[in-house]
Assembly symmetry: C2
Homo-oligomer: 339 residues x 2
């Protein structure tokens, strides 16, 4: 059924030129006579020729592919992040290969890690998808790496792209305190060692301190950035008898779980208790109480990180640290009437 695929040799023969010329036409890598070029392209179309990518990669020592490493494929930020990365890759003619950690961990003893210098020109590393030693090893070999949602490991200068987590949170908490008079604010932390969570907590503490308040240890729960876990953590805090006047859930998925749980428990949001999140996920405006949150531009993060990686691959240099601005998004769950 499948006749044999034509190669560059077939095209050259049919068009009456050398394979060098065919290559040049296809890659636009050198001037070729108008008429010759036309003939080659006509032949390419007629034989439905498409150059073998593996051969191109091998000969050119480039893969024109970048890899994205993630802990898991999940979360409300994933789609916009990938959208941004994909947009940049399209603009620059790169392909995108995706690797989630389970895949990385499954590789057998004697086999290689499925990603790296052998099949990509560079890697986008999301949060904790790669251990510091491996980041360090690759970086020191000169392999292009850009980190997303995390800083460079100590002592290294790996370019990274992060959100203005602390400042964004500070604006958010300032709003709760200054506009709504909140004084006892609970916090649901994300996964351990998660940088986003760490800096958001710093922002919370900074705002509290600025207003002469502090973070009550009894008002800290473990939300893991997951709706059901965050809901349970919030319930536990409230059932312990503590009476926060607001909960900062750490992210929006947690806020969704917490708001739903609070309503089920008979609390009124925001009248009895305010709830605020972080991310401005696509569900934020649709929650039972439209969510006041901080907008983290995930699409832009994906695009920017990809852009830095392309720059690193092509020119050998990139910005060491890109901090993307965040923005307060007021809806109703803080107590405002707007929207």
């Amino acid at each position: 059924m499948a006749r044999k695929k034509p190669t560059i040799i077939d095209i050259a023969r049919e068009a009456g030129v050398s394979i060098s010329t065919v290559s040049r036409v296809l890659n636009n890598s050198m001037p070729v006579a108008e008429e010759t070029s036309r003939r080659v392209l006509e032949t390419v179309r007629r034989l439905e020729f498409s150059p073998n990518q593996a051969a191109r990669n091998l000969a050119s020592k480039r893969t024109n592919t970048i890899g994205l490493l993630l802990p898991t494929i999940s979360g409300g930020f994933f789609t916009p992040l990938l959208e941004g990365i994909d947009r940049c890759m399209s603009e620059n003619g790169f392909d995108l290969l995706i690797f989630s950690s389970p895949k990385l961990e499954r590789h057998e003893f004697k086999r290689m890690v499925p990603v790296g210098e052998h099949n990509t020109d560079g890697l986008l590393v999301f949060t904790s998808s790669l251990v510091d030693e491996e980041i360090s090893r690759l970086h020191q070999r000169g392999f292009p790496l850009v980190l997303l949602h995390r800083h460079s490991p100590p002592g290294l200068q790996v370019p990274s792209v992060i959100f203005e987590n602390q400042k964004g949170t500070e604006m958010l908490i300032d709003h709760l305190i200054e506009v709504h008079g909140c004084r006892k604010i609970a916090f649901l932390a994300g996964p351990p060692m998660n940088e986003d969570s760490y800096w958001r907590e710093q922002g919370l503490r900074a705002s509290l301190q600025k207003h002469g308040l502090e973070l009550d240890p009894d008002l800290i729960g473990m939300g893991e950035f997951e709706g059901p876990i965050a809901a349970a953590a919030a319930r536990k805090i409230l059932q312990s008898g503590a009476r926060p006047d607001a909960i900062f859930t750490g992210d929006d998925e947690s806020a969704a779980g917490v708001i739903t749980e609070l309503l089920r428990m008979g609390w009124k949001v925001p009248d009895d208790i305010a709830v605020v999140g972080f991310d401005d996920d696509y569900l934020a405006p649709y929650l039972p109480v439209p969510l006041t949150t901080v907008r983290a531009p995930s699409e832009q993060a994906g695009y920017t990180a990809a852009k830095q990686l392309v720059s690193l691959i092509r020119t050998g240099s990139a910005d060491l640290l890109t901090v993307l601005p965040t923005e307060l998004v007021i809806r109703r769950s803080c107590g405002c009437k707007a929207n």
Copy 2:
């Protein structure tokens, strides 16, 4: 900084064997003496060797990569879909390359489409991401293709994976009619030529007819499966003076937009009007009124489609049609008190 990458020749020399032997050890493709194998692996580790993928692909005439074609990277189903595909790819040792249509359309006149036989062993084609002629061309060339959320073009036998859209919708509408006594049900259609939307409409009509009812043309709107567009379509229907007792929004994203809009307009959901969706997106339980909907197993769809493609690549055969079961998910927006 980056010293030269070792090749298979370096490993062979260091280990005192031929490159054939190194290749056999790495690929486990033939029996090799225990002691020889040990020595090779030790050398591989010591030199941090990882085989050049392009060379492998070129020599073996396989890419071990499959491609995913999508119209856009967006929607609540995207993350679970990709999760399922990724899981299957990991299990079977394939890599995944992603292509969204904007990328496909951007390819210049004289350049090749960025995906196909030259860089993948097969393609997963989502809905309308590839025109029928192209599907036909590739399939007739014997290139492995599996369609997702759509049937094979007429006359061809391309394997495809779809949801039980019609039956799922029928259960949903039966519920509205039989349990809640609805008789005037509005429908918001998805994008034109979208198969999911088409079959859901058929399911709606089947259920109505079964109960001696019919679909009132004045109660059909264009929702496009997008929240804001669906919200506008619903508003238009209501402002026209029509008084449906329920709205089937076609999918959950539309339901989110519609519910929010109805509440804003002062309608009570479900008391004044019931709203039901389709998909069981992750936002469904978190909406202001928890959404009654039909669960479409996207993760499973991704996994299954990928599995069929792997089978097609490896054995040359796959199931021509896989229909994944859907399931009614009762929450509150239909008028039930449960949950």
